[in-house]
C-alpha cells in the first residue's frame, strides 16, 4: 500500500481504487498511538489536484477511514457538494470489516442527489451527493474515491488533513500538479516541512504529506483549527471564471478582478436618479447625504439571495435591484454604491469574511477568503461602513458580524487591505439600574432600566426587530432566571449611530424572590446580572486560551425591603483583579434599602494554556459572588402603641 502512494504521484494515471487487497485496512495495522482518544482513524487520504487548463481543475480524492465507535459515525458519511462550476465525474466506494475484508461496494443508485440550497436562497445551483453504508459493527472501514472537475480556477481546494476532533491520521497527502511556469500560491499552517517538489517536463508537482498524527481534543476557548492542526491554503496566480480572467498575486490585482466583475453594473434608472437628487437636496454634509441614501436603501430593499452561476460572485445589476427592490449582499452593496455615485460621493465595494467569531482572513495571502460584501464610504474624519443587507442596522455600525477584522476595499486602482471598526471595552457595555421593592410575601417588584451598547446590543437588536411584541414578551417570559415570574411592562428604544445603544425598560414581578424561613429573610442582591458560566477544570490543558470579546457590565441595585428587619449577614466586598478581567461587587444596607453595586471588565486576548486554571478560578469566584445572599432577621415585635 505504501508503495503505490508515491507511484501515482509520478504517473498521475493509475486508478486509486481496487489496489487495496483484502486485509490492508485491518484495524490491527493501525499504530496504537493513533487509537488513543480517537473515534476514527484516517488510514489513507490522498488528494490530487491538476490544473489542466487555465479554466479547468481536475480533482481526485481517495480516502479510507476506520470508524472505531459510535461517536465516530459522523465521519462515515460521504457528502460532496457540487454546483455549476463543479462537476462530480465519478464516485466509488467500499465497506470493510474490522479485519479489512471487503463487505460491500457502492452502487451508483445508492448515491443520493439533493438540493443543497437549504432554504437560504431563493435560487442557487448548490446540490450535493450523499451516501452512507450505515454499517455499525465496530470497528469498520469505509473507502471513497471521487473524481471531479472544476470549471473555474478562482478557487483551489485547501488541504485539511485532520477533519475534526478525535480523529487521528495515519497517512495523508495532497498533491498539486501545475504547468511548469505556473506560480502556485500556498500558505501553510502547523506544517514545518517544505513541500516535496517534482518537476518533469511540462509539469511541476508539489506534495504535502502527513503521517501518524494523533487526534486533537477540542478545548474551551481554544484557537481556531488553522492554529492547532496542519492546514494548507492554496490560491491561483492567474485564473479564469466564465468570461473573466484575473490574477490574485496581491490584493491589488485581486481587487482589479472584482472591479472587472462589477464593471458597468451600476446604471440606475432615471426615476431613481431623480429620487437621489430629491433626497440629497439640502443635506449639509456628505455624511448627511450618505445617511439619507442609506435610510432610503433600508426602507426600499430587502435581502434575497439569488446566486446562479457567475452570479455567485458578480452582483445583479443596480437596475435589477431598482426594479425588484431586492438582492443579495453583492447586489445591494453595488446598488448603494450606485446611489452614492449618483450623489457624487465615492464609495468602495468591500469584500469581507463575515460571521460572529469567524477567523480573520489571512492578510498576507491574497485569495478569495470572503463570504460577504459591505460598502465603505470615505468621509472627512472617518470612514462610514454600511451593511446593505440589513433594513434595521445603524449606519456606520458593523457589530459582531463584520466588525473587528480585516476586509478588502475595491478601488479603481485595485484592492486594498483595511480594517473595520473595532469595538472594545469602552464600546461593548451594559449598564443596568434596578429599583426593586420586596413585600411581606417575598414577592419582588422590579423596575430594571438597562442600556446595552454595540456588541452587547447585537442580539437584542435582532430580537426586537424580528419578533412581534407578543413574541418578545414570550421570550422574556421564558428567558429570565427566576423560579416563577411575570413580565409586566417593557419597552425598547434604539439609539442609532456608529456606536448604537438600546435602552430597555423592563418591569418584572418575581414570586418568592426572597426566601423567608421563620423570622429570617434570605435575599440575593444581584437580581439580574449573574455570571452564568462555570468552566470544567482541565489539568492537562493543551492549547492557548483565546477570549474574543471585550466587554463591561455595570450594575446598581436598590432593593427596598419590608420594615422591621435588621442585618444578620452581609456578603463581603469582592474584588477580583485578574489577567482575564476585573470584577467588583459590594453590598450594604441603608435603612430598609439594600444597595448593591457590581462591575465587570472582561478582557479579550490570548493566554498561555497553563493560565486556564486561573480563568476557571476567576469564573468560579464571580459565579459565587453573584449568588451571595444577605441574611436579615425580623426584629422582635415591639409593643404596638397608638
Amino acid at each position: 500500500m505504501r508503495k503505490w502512494v508515491s507511484l501515482y504521484l509520478f504517473s498521475g494515471l493509475i486508478s486509486l481504487t481496487a489496489l487495496a487487497g483484502d486485509g490492508d485496512y485491518a484495524v490491527f495495522k493501525i499504530p496504537p498511538a493513533l487509537l488513543k482518544n480517537a473515534n476514527a482513524v484516517v488510514r489513507v487520504h490522498e488528494q490530487y489536484v491538476e490544473l489542466q487548463k487555465e479554466d479547468r481543475l481536475f480533482i481526485r480524492e481517495h480516502y479510507v477511514i476506520t470508524i472505531l465507535n459510535e461517536e465516530g459515525n459522523h465521519f462515515s458519511e460521504f457528502f460532496e457538494p457540487y454546483h455549476k462550476f463543479l462537476e462530480i465525474k465519478s464516485v466509488e466506494g467500499a465497506l470493510y470489516d474490522g479485519m479489512g475484508k471487503k463487505l460491500k461496494s457502492l452502487k451508483s443508485k445508492d448515491v443520493e442527489d439533493g438540493s443543497g440550497s437549504g432554504g437560504e436562497s431563493l435560487a442557487d445551483d448548490n446540490r450535493y451527493k450523499k451516501h452512507n453504508f450505515y454499517y455499525r459493527v465496530y470497528p469498520y472501514t469505509i473507502e471513497y474515491t471521487i473524481e471531479s472537475v472544476k470549471k473555474e480556477t478562482m478557487f483551489f481546494p485547501s488541504w485539511v488533513p485532520v477533519f475534526g476532533e478525535l480523529i487521528s491520521v495515519e497517512k495523508s497527502s495532497f498533491a498539486v500538479d501545475v504547468p511548469s511556469g505556473y506560480l502556485l500560491r500556498y500558505k501553510e499552517f502547523n506544517y514545518s516541512r517544505e513541500p516535496d517538489i517534482k518537476e518533469s517536463g511540462k509539469s511541476k508537482i508539489y506534495t504535502w504529506s502527513l503521517a501518524n498524527f494523533e487526534s486533537i481534543k477540542r478545548e474551551y476557548a481554544a484557537p481556531s483549527w488553522k492554529n492547532i492542526a496542519p492546514y494548507v491554503l492554496f490560491a491561483p496566480s492567474s485564473f479564469v471564471i466564465e468570461d473573466y480572467k484575473g490574477n490574485m498575486n496581491d490584493w491589488s490585482s485581486f481587487g482589479k478582478f472584482i472591479l472587472s466583475l462589477n464593471k458597468g453594473r451600476d446604471q440606475l434608472p432615471e426615476p431613481v436618479k431623480a429620487k437621489v437628487a430629491e433626497l440629497t437636496r439640502g443635506a449639509g454634509t456628505n455624511e448627511e447625504k450618505v445617511i439619507r441614501l442609506y435610510r432610503y436603501l433600508q426602507a426600499n430593499t430587502r435581502y434575497i439571495s439569488i446566486q446562479l452561476g457567475i452570479g455567485g460572485w458578480r452582483p445583479l445589476e443596480a437596475s435589477f435591484v431598482a426594479n425588484k427592490l431586492y438582492g443579495d449582499c453583492k447586489a445591494l452593496s453595488n446598488y448603494m454604491y450606485a446611489l452614492l455615485k449618483e450623489a457624487g460621493i465615492p464609495s468602495f465595494y468591500t469584500v469581507i469574511k463575515s460571521g460572529d467569531g469567524a477567523d480573520d482572513i489571512q492578510v498576507d495571502f491574497s485569495s478569495s477568503q470572503f463570504n460577504h460584501v459591505i460598502l465603505s464610504v470615505p468621509l472627512p474624519g472617518d470612514t462610514l461602513w454600511l451593511e446593505c443587507t440589513s433594513q434595521t442596522q445603524s449606519p456606520g455600525y458593523m457589530g459582531d458580524f463584520t466588525g473587528n477584522r480585516h476586509a478588502v476595499i475595491i478601488t479603481e486602482e485595485g484592492g486594498k487591505l483595511v480594517t473595520t471598526p473595532r469595538y472594545g471595552m469602552k464600546e461593548n457595555t451594559q449598564v443596568r439600574n434596578v429599583k426593586a421593592v420586596l413585600n411581606e410575601e417575598a414577592t419582588l417588584e422590579i423596575e430594571a432600566r438597562s442600556t446595552y451598547s454595540c456588541m452587547q446590543q447585537d442580539d437584542l437588536h435582532m430580537m426586537i426587530n424580528a419578533l412581534s411584541k407578543d413574541k418578545v414578551k414570550e421570550y422574556l417570559q421564558h428567558q429570565l432566571d427566576f423560579a416563577t415570574y411575570e413580565v409586566g411592562r417593557f419597552n425598547y428604544k434604539e439609539n442609532q449611530s456608529r456606536f448604537p445603544t438600546i435602552d430597555e425598560e423592563l418591569d418584572i414581578t418575581v414570586s418568592n424572590y426572597a426566601t423567608i424561613t421563620g423570622k429570617r429573610l434570605f435575599i440575593v442582591p444581584n437580581i439580574m446580572s449573574r455570571h452564568a458560566r462555570r468552566l470544567t477544570p482541565n489539568e492537562s490543558r493543551k492549547y492557548e486560551v483565546e477570549l474574543d470579546m471585550e466587554y463591561r457590565d455595570i450594575d446598581s441595585v436598590e432593593i427596598t425591603i419590608p420594615a422591621g428587619y435588621s442585618v444578620e449577614s452581609v456578603p463581603q466586598e469582592v474584588v477580583l483583579d485578574t489577567k482575564f478581567g476585573r470584577f467588583r461587587s459590594s453590598v450594604k444596607m441603608e435603612g430598609n434599602r439594600i444597595l448593591y453595586y457590581r462591575s465587570l471588565d472582561h478582557y479579550a486576548g490570548k493566554f498561555p494554556a497553563k493560565e486556564y486554571a486561573e480563568l476557571v478560578k476567576f469564573y468560579d469566584a464571580m459565579y459565587k459572588a453573584d449568588r451571595a445572599k444577605l441574611v436579615l432577621v425580623k426584629n422582635e415585635t415591639t409593643p404596638k402603641s397608638f
Binding site: E70, E71, E112, D113, G114, S115, S117, L122, A123, N132, F133, Y134, Y135, R136, V137, A299, N300, R302, I304, N323, K324, L325, Y326, Q391, T392, A442, N465, A466, L467, S468, K469, D470, V472, E474, Q477, H478, F482, A483, T484, E486, S511, N512, T515, T517, G518, K519, R520, F522, R534, T536, P537, E568, S569, Y623, R627, K629, V631
Partner: protein, 672 residues
Amino acid sequence: MKIRLCLLLCAAMFELSAQDAADESRFPTVTPVMLGALYYPIDSGATAVVLAEYSETKVNGSNDGGFEFETRIRRRIHLLKKASFDRGTVVVDLFTNEEEQEKVSKLNAVTWVLEGGKVTETKLNTKSDVYTEKLNRNHIRKKFTLPGLKEGAIIEYEYTLTSGYLFNLRPWYFQGEVPCLWSEYRVAFPEFLNYIMLQQGILPFTIADTELKPGTYNLTFMRDVYAGKTVDERLMINCRIAHHRWVISNVPAFKEEAYTSSPDNYMNRIWFQLSGFQQPLVEKTLQATWPEFTASVLNRLDFVNEMENTGEWWPEEMKQVLKGATSESDIAKAIYSYVSTRFSLNSDESVRRNPLKKVAAAKSGNMLELNLLLVAMLRYAGLQADPVMLSTREHGYSTEAFPITGQFNYLVCRVKADEDDWLLDATHPYLGFGKLPYQCYNGQARVLNREATLIHLLPDQLTESDEMSVDINFNMADSPQWKSTVNHRYGFFASEELREKIKKAGLESFRKELALDEIAGESVSDLTVESLEKFGTSLQVTYKTETGVKADNELYLKPVLVPYFRQNPLKSAERKYPVEMPYKISQQYTVHIRVPEGYEVEELPASFSADINGKKDAAFDYTVTTANGKVTIQYGLDITKTYFKPDEYRGLREFFSKIAAKLEEQIVFKKK
C-alpha cells in the same frame, strides 16, 4: 397513490355547467386607507396579518379517464413590519413521479404600497422570477418572492395546484404563525366520491355549511378501437355535488407551549381521505376497516413475504444467544437483548430501505427495520410476535374510529411469552425488556395482526419515580465545611438517559457535570453508578460532596439538594391548551443533618403541604423533625395525573411555584 377510476359504461352524458365563482368580497380593491393601517386590533404587536386567505378545491374530470383535484389558493397579507418580509417569499412543494406530476398554474402575485398617498402596484414576473428547485427524486419546489416589498405593503398571491392524487387532499390550516382575519376553505365533492373529513383545533368555525347542488363532470379518455388505434371519447356524468364551506374569522397566531405533546393537535385544521366510490362509478369501499388497514400496512412494509424465508439468513450467533434459554420469556429476553444491543439504529426515518436479510448482515437498520427484524426473530424462535404501529407524542394523536393514512409514524413489537404480552422497542436498549419510550404513550396503538388489536398506551400508565436520600455532616475544624453523602435512585426514563450519557462520555464527565451544578455542593467525589449494565432497572447513583462554610456566629444551610423543580416549568401566566405531561411523577427526598459541633438549631423551615384538587391530582408534603442532634427533612412530591385542562393551569402553575420556593428554604445554626 394515483387512483384510476373505472366508469360504468352506462354513464349518462350531459353538458357541462360552469362552477360557482369564488368569494371575491374578501379581496376588495386595495385602497390608501387599507394600506395606511398600522396595526390590527386582533394583535396590536403583530409583524404581519393575513387579511384573508381563501382556498377552494374542485374535482375535475381529467383527460386520461380519471379525476383530479384542482385547488385554488389565494392569500392577502399585510406586512406591517420588516420582520415579516419572509412571508413575501412563497414556496410550493409538488410531488412528482413517472406516472403523475402535480402542477402549479395560474400563478399571480402582486405587491401594493402607498407612495405619495397613492396605491402603486408591482406584479411578479411569472416568466422570469419563478424558480424551480429539484429537491430530490420525487419532490419539486416552486419558489418566488414578491417584488417591490416595503414595510406596510399588502401582498397577494394566488395559484392553482392540480393533483391526480385523489386519495389524500392537502390539509387546510386555519391557524398559523401570524394572525388571520379570515381563513376560508371550500371543497366540492361529487356524490360518487366519498370522503371522510377530519377536523381539529380549539377555535370554533365561524361558518360551516354544506349544500347539495346538481352538477356535471366531463371526462375524456382514450378507447381502443382496434389494435393500436385509439379514439378520444368524451363522457359526462350528471350528479349531485356536495359544496362544503368552512370559515374561521379572527384567528390568533398559534403559540407553542411547554408540555404539549404535539402542536399539531391544537392548531386548527381540516383534512380528508377518500373512503369510496359510488354510482355511476363502480361501487367500491376504499375506507379500510382496521384489519384491512393493518394487512395493507404489512404488505407495504413488505413484511409478509420476508417472513417466509427467515431461516436462510438467521445469524449464526443466534445459536449462542439462545443457549440455555428454555422458557418462552427467557427466549424473548435473549432475542430482545441481542437485537437491541448488538444492532444499531442508523436513522429515524420510517421507510423500508433494506430487506431483513441485509439488515441482519449489516447489524444496522432504521427504526422500522430493527423492530421488524425483532418480530421476525421472535417468530422464528417459535414465539407469537407481531409488529405494533402507533403515533408518537410529537407526531400527534391518531383517530381510533377509522384508519387514516399517515397517522402512524412508529413501529414496535409485541411478543407473547409465558402467557404475558410484552411490548418491545429494539431501538432503545437501555430501557430494558418490555418497556417502550414514553413518546409512544400517545393513545392508540394497533397490532398488525388479523384482528388489528387495539392497545391503549396512555401517559397515565407511566410513573417516573425518583428517590434521593442525603446525609449531611459538618466539620468545623481548620477549614470548616459540610460534607454530604448522596444516594440517588433515578427514575426509569432518567436512568435510560443517564446510561446513554455515561456510555457516550464516561463517568468522569458525568462527575464534572454534577460538580458544575452547585445545588448539591461545591466538589463532587466518590461517584458510583450501580446497575449501569442492568438495562431496564433504575440507576443508583452515589457520591460525596464538600462545601466550604464560614464559621460565623450563624451557619446557613440549604438542605434540599435535589435538582428538579427549582424553576417553575410552566413559564407563561396564561394558557389556552391543556398541559400534557409525559408521565406521572413521584419524588421522595430525605436528608439527615447532624447539627454542627458547638452550634445549635436556631431556625428551621416549617413543615408544609400543597395539593391540587385535595391531593387527588397532585400533592407535596414537606416535614421537618429533630431528634438526637439530628434534623431530618423529608418531602414527597406526587403528580398523579398527566392531563390538565386549560382551566386547571393556574392552579398547577401555583403549585409548582410553591414547591420552587420551599426548596430554597434554609436552616440556621447558631453558635452556642
